[in-house]
């Protein structure tokens, strides 16, 4: 049996020419970063800053 390419496991459920095949699908690094605690701690701070700016801009 042919071996599956390492990165292809992230898209193996996508049928060619289906609507799903016309969009971006995250690969391993992107998926890892989404739940990587260290990186997400930084994103947590960033999201809170963005939301604070939005709240300040919205209150008048």
């Amino acid at each position: 049996m042919a071996e599956i390419n390492k990165e292809s496991k992230h898209v193996k459920h996508v049928e060619p020419y289906s609507p799903q095949s016309g969009t971006m699908i995250p690969l391993g690094t992107q998926k890892f970063l989404r739940t990587c605690v260290l990186w997400q701690l930084i994103r947590f701070v960033a999201i809170n800053i963005k939301m604070t700016i939005l709240i300040v801009k919205s209150h008048r």
Binding site: I42, F44, S58
Partner: protein
Amino acid sequence: MARLVILGAGVAGHTAASFAAKWLSETEDEVVVVTPNALWNWIPSNIWVGVGEMGKEEVTFDLAPVYEKAGAIYKQAKAVSINPEGSADTNKSFVTIEFTGQDKEGESENIEYDYLINATGPKLNFDATPGLGDGNGHLGEHTVSVCTADHAIHASHVLDETIEQMRKGERKKFLIGTGHGMCTCQGAAFEYIFNIEHKLKEEGVRDMADMTWISNESFLGDFGMGGLHFNMGGFVTSSKVFAESLYAERGMDWIIGAHVNKVEAGKVTYETLDGEIDEQEFDFAMLIPPFAGVGLKAYNKAGEDITDTVFAPNGFMKVDADYTVKPYEEWLPSDWPRTLQNPTYKNMFAVGIAFAPPHPISKPMKSPNGTPIIPTPPRTGMPSAMMGKAVVSSIVDMMKGKATEPTHTSSMAEMGAACVASAGKGLFSGTAAAMTVFPIVPDFKKYPGTGRDINGTTGEIGLAAHWVKHLLHHAFIWKAKLKPGWTLIPE
């Protein structure tokens, strides 16, 4: 002594009541809250109740002690009608209520007011789609809902049963989305489908599920806001790409531009924007109902019905919006209300879902058969609470004699919204989509091309957003309970 009556104790009404009680605490003035529910519900977390990750007691609390502490008078009742001019017997405006609790069930009372805030939110109009409702205004037997905490408990039990059958080797079809062509609140359904998917994975049965999204949006990621554009990696990227990417990643199919026109056991019939009539089978379905006003009536001094003067045909209260019917190309940010004051009766205001929007935000579309398939505008938690606070600030200024006109504004065309949509719960395995949008109603003159500030409109998916969502759950319940420092937590 003056009296402010607030109808509804949801996100908008409770925010208004809390600030009114605080700001009027040193005066003789009264704050009366009329709401049929004994419990306050942090509705966004109903999603987690609906997948068994939280219990009802974690998303609700008793309102009575909170209002007692705040110094507001609490009537567990539903408003039935408003007499803004009074009646033959009195010149004072009053609202007629019918008790639903406090050992006075079914009793009526007239409450006079100097100022009135209508924050009654939506009627969950299940019966607009045959089979989605039971014909008596409640959820029907074929689908589940997460719109109330009790609905979510029921949904969670049905989900558990479905998972049990999957464990025994039965393949199941899941259908989640909107149950009518004129729905809003796609975000809630979006959260539910991703939370179910996450749960199925954790239970080890994901491979036994076919998951389909069905929605009245003309493209995935419209969210009733005509979509939004983020700055992603140096590209202005549509929420269509953002949303499609997430559905494709999680192996879900989507049906868009759909008006569900019939729900039967295990099957929905729907019409699409390109005119096709089709069917979709399901074993488990959660379809958001369309929203309408709660059906309040209004009468003038002579007792004549003036409901059409005070309310729009969909039952939401008219405010200072521009309701002129005009094509999409002519819509302006200035169509949206700022003071939320009723144009006919200046001592009445409407906030949150209860105010009548001037028109949708998404471009209106019809099927070739003439069926309108248009996401109606979302009025999510943050804007609802901000409107509640702004209106109460104006009213308190008027009650204290500092002003005769509203002093504060809160327009969806001038404010942004932060929305964190859960895609699965778990301290280290959870994810959510954190989005900020500014302004909510696009302004194509100020921000040509996308209608929104590209730096203020952002989106990202990850564990951090889930932490933010969890933090907000606790922060908003803390704030709603008026615990120490509650005023420091922003709306």
